[in-house]
């Protein structure tokens, strides 16, 4: 039994994959009789210089003990939690500060050509290089995340896919006439692609959207598009739903839309598969493409309204095809994501406690190995 702190950074009043990852990790550690707590500091992206202070703040905290309780291990997740200092630090990387890396010079980055922004970017990269390299164990939630780490920071890590958050609870129901979207409502998730495609989709089909907004103006934008095309009766914003409701929504969907830009991992993909449903995604959706194979368990499309509209119609007009894709997705989960699961994830994350931190010298990207399967 070890005393373990899981380190999270959260934008208050929002919730997404990070929170699911952290909460399920804690649950599984506790189930294995470890003493675990969460250190979850608030995260604020603006002003950007403040991120340096937040990183330094993580650095300033003494994590080695609290009162008489010695902390045996810290597990860092996303930026800037890995700036924490501890002799036994594991990293299960969700993502770095992406505007400084893969999102640079694109619509999802706020780092401009201002010399101050460039210096800010260099400081972030410099800091990441230092603090990530000091981790005893380095892993990431997907091949996409680990490849970014290698390409931009020349740091090698292991792919450690998070198991499904609701374990074996997923089920396949009917193929009702709605497309399901699950995720935070912000521009990078590109829910507007499917929303704006709905005029092309057969009129009896709905789009059900689970998730809450975490970007100013996003709901106004969506409502504007809905009003423009009179889609009020076809688009449902469900906000946050209970686990049972979510399972039910997955179970009875015709298909699941999940096409974010260069996603880190994407629980939603695997949840769709576990529910026997095909996934509609885009060829630039990053981590999602580690699981979706075109016309086998989903459809990989151009990130255009037309493409998604016509793809949805394909499922509507040919339900046996949609069922076949879904069946293949479920088979994929049963083959690759059953078995060791959390046992393997926790064994790897806790490896520094076995004094095998030097293993990280020889950790290579295992691109074909699904570590938790």
């Amino acid at each position: 039994m070890a005393n373990i702190l899981v380190l999270g950074a959260k934008v208050p009043f929002t919730s997404g994959g990070q929170e699911i990852l952290v909460s399920t990790l804690i649950r599984e550690l506790k189930a294995r009789d470890h003493r675990v707590d969460l250190v979850d500091l608030p995260y604020q992206a603006l002003p950007k210089e403040d991120l340096l202070r937040q990183a330094a703040y993580w650095r300033s905290i003494d994590f080695t003990s609290f009162g008489e309780t010695k902390v045996d291990l810290v597990i860092a997740t996303k930026f800037p939690t890995y700036y924490a200092k501890h002799p036994k630090k594991s990293l299960w990387l969700v993502h770095q500060h992406r505007p400084a890396y893969d999102l640079y010079a694109g619509r999802y980055s706020d780092i401009s050509d201002d010399p101050r922004d460039e210096q800010f970017r260099q400081l972030i990269v410099q800091g990441d290089n230092k603090v990530i390299a000091e981790c005893e164990y380095i892993s990431g939630i997907s091949k996409n995340v680990i490849e970014r780490l290698q390409h931009y920071n020349q740091i090698v890590g292991e792919v450690l896919y998070p198991p499904l958050p609701m374990g074996n609870s997923y089920r396949t129901g009917e193929f009702q006439d709605y497309i399901l979207s699950v995720g935070r409502l912000c521009s990078i998730k590109r829910v507007d692609l499917m929303l704006k495609a709905m005029p092309i989709v057969h009129g009896h089909v709905k789009l059900k959207i689970v998730g809450t907004p975490d970007e100013p103006g996003i709901m106004e934008y969506f409502q504007n598009e809905i009003a423009k095309h009179s889609l009020q009766s076809r688009i449902e914003f469900l906000g946050r739903v209970s686990e049972e409701d979510l399972l039910s929504l997955f179970a009875n969907a015709l298909g699941v839309f999940y096409a974010p830009h260069n996603e880190d991992y994407g629980y939603v993909t695997l949840e769709a598969f576990a529910s026997g449903k095909p996934v509609l995604t885009a060829h630039d959706s990053g981590g999602v493409l580690e699981f979706v194979h075109h016309e086998q368990n989903g459809l990989i499309l151009e990130p255009t309204i037309d493409a998604f509209g016509h793809a949805a119609n394909r499922l509507v007009e040919n339900k046996p095809f949609a069922e076949e894709l879904g069946k293949n997705g479920k088979a994929f989960i049963e083959k690759e994501f059953s078995g060791a699961g959390w046992d393997r994830v926790i064994e790897r994350l806790l490896s520094p406690l076995q004094g095998i931190g030097t293993e990280r010298e020889s950790i290579h990207i295992q691109s074909s190995q699904i570590v938790n399967g």
Binding site: G106, Q122, L123
Partner: protein
């Protein structure tokens, strides 16, 4: 006696590139393939692009690693190729971060560029560079909307090269704010340098060989396919045409052909300079090339130049850069109401052989002006002319960035201090103020120490 080896000039070459797994449709990738083999003999080149794949056998790196490489082993020059294409967006942003030389294949753009530079503070940065007394403007300032041209990019460059003469003129007319150098006024070098072409052979043909028209324009209206097809339909709808189009436009191209009832159009959805070269060199045809592009955006290079080099009779629009091509070498079509009639007349004359075209004159002109060897030599000369300015530029730009770093770190510290002072420790008595101040000072020192430990130092 020891032999001293002169260090080669180090160039960071920024461009989209052609890779085995993915070819680029940019002009920049094409010129990179053509010129680097020659330039590498003279310069120590590292290719920076937006991916991580190795480019041929050149030193290759992701463009975001350029700053770190530069700090370890400085480059003498950063060389950018800029064009109106999404693949060039990373260059459009980054050429303002690490200034150098820019080869403008386009000066007018159809977009403002990647979102992060929409509110670029470039005028302030130029002023800061030009004047030691200038401070950085406060964050959050909103600049007025700029026109969609390369005035920002040109202002932040020390060597400006243009592959269209008309773009060169536009730049001189529009750019008012530039980096200046103390030693000499007007040290910014600015010149026309056309897109190079490989060795193109003139096709062999007999007078009895069949006549055909070669076209590689887009379906978009500025490429005038509709005017060309209207002329061909009026002349003879069975006239052989080869249309080299992009794969994305194949369906639209088929529709356009149907619309004009042309019966002998071979559509090749694989538009590339290499494919065009194959077509213009192809034996057994009396080929005529149509490059009747009519727009301030985009250009016909290198396709037009290849057609000239092959000595083909060539039609162009009498617009923009056409004035720089001798009248005797091309058939210039005035855009407007009589456009398709003019095209029809020219095609009729060529078909009937009533007009003789001196193919060798066009080929000689093309070789003299566009050969890759010639362009490589000129580019090399321009780079060397710019070198004295570059060392001054690099030193002063480094100073500007050190000031920027100081400001970033000061801001990060000051946010912390401000919160500590105002929110946590409201001022009451003198004694408490003293304790407060020493607490705040201690907190500030601790933060600075952590910054130092992380390498966040001035």
């Amino acid at each position: 006696m020891s032999r001293v080896t002169q260090r080669k000039v180090r160039i960071g070459w920024f461009s989209p590139v052609n890779l085995p797994e993915k070819t680029s449709s940019t002009l920049s990738a094409y010129t990179t393939d053509l010129l680097l083999p020659q330039l590498r003999n003279e310069f120590d080149i590292t290719v920076f692009h937006s991916g991580f794949q190795q480019y041929q056998d050149y030193k290759t790196a992701h463009f975001l690693s350029a700053a770190e490489q530069h700090s370890r082993d400085p480059f003498d020059l950063f060389f950018y190729q800029l064009e109106d294409h999404p693949e060039s967006n990373f260059i459009r942003q980054y050429c303002g971060v690490m200034p150098g030389a820019i080869w403008f294949h386009d000066f007018l753009f159809t977009s403002h560029g990647p979102e992060p530079i929409l509110n670029s503070p470039f005028e302030d940065v130029i002023e800061h560079f030009n004047s030691d007394t200038c401070d950085f403007r406060e964050r959050g300032h909103e600049y007025k909307e700029r026109e969609r041209s390369g005035i920002r990019e040109a202002g932040l460059s020390v060597l400006r090269v243009f592959s269209r003469e008309i773009a060169h003129s536009e730049c001189k007319r529009r750019v008012s704010s530039s980096l200046t150098f103390q030693e000499q006024e007007n040290r910014i070098l600015s010149a026309y340098l056309p897109v190079p072409i490989p060795d193109v052979s003139a096709p062999l043909f007999d007078a009895e060989d069949q006549f055909r028209i070669l076209f590689c324009g887009s379906v978009q209206v500025e490429h005038r396919a509709h005017k060309l097809f209207q002329a061909i339909a009026a002349l003879d709808p069975s006239t052989p045409v080869v249309w080299l189009c992009s794969l994305a436009e194949q369906h639209a191209a088929e529709e356009l052909i149907k619309e004009y009832g042309l019966s002998s159009v071979q559509l090749l959805p694989e538009r590339s300079p290499k494919k065009w070269q194959q077509l213009v060199e192809e034996r057994g045809w009396r080929s005529v090339a149509a490059h009747i592009h009519f727009s301030v955006y985009g250009q016909t290079a290198p396709y037009l130049q290849m057609s000239l080099a092959a000595g083909l009779p060539t039609l162009i629009s009498d617009f923009g850069g056409a004035e720089f091509l001798p009248d005797s070498l091309t058939f210039k079509i005035e855009p407007g109401q009589t456009e398709s009639s003019q095209i029809q007349i020219v095609l009729e004359e060529l078909l009937s052989k009533r007009v003789h075209v001196d193919s060798s004159a066009a080929a000689d002109f093309a070789r003299e002006n566009f050969s890759k060897e010639q362009i490589g030599r000129e580019l090399s000369f321009m780079v060397r002319q710019a070198l004295p300015v570059l060392s001054e530029m690099n030193a002063r730009w480094g100073k500007l960035h050190r000031a920027a770093r100081d400001e970033v770190l000061d801001f990060a510290l000051s946010v912390h201090l401000k919160r500590a002072e105002e929110d946590l420790f409201p001022q009451t008595s003198a004694f408490e103020n003293s304790a407060t101040n020493s607490s705040v000072t201690l907190a500030s020192e601790q933060l600075q120490e952590i910054f130092q430990e992380l390498g966040f130092s001035k």
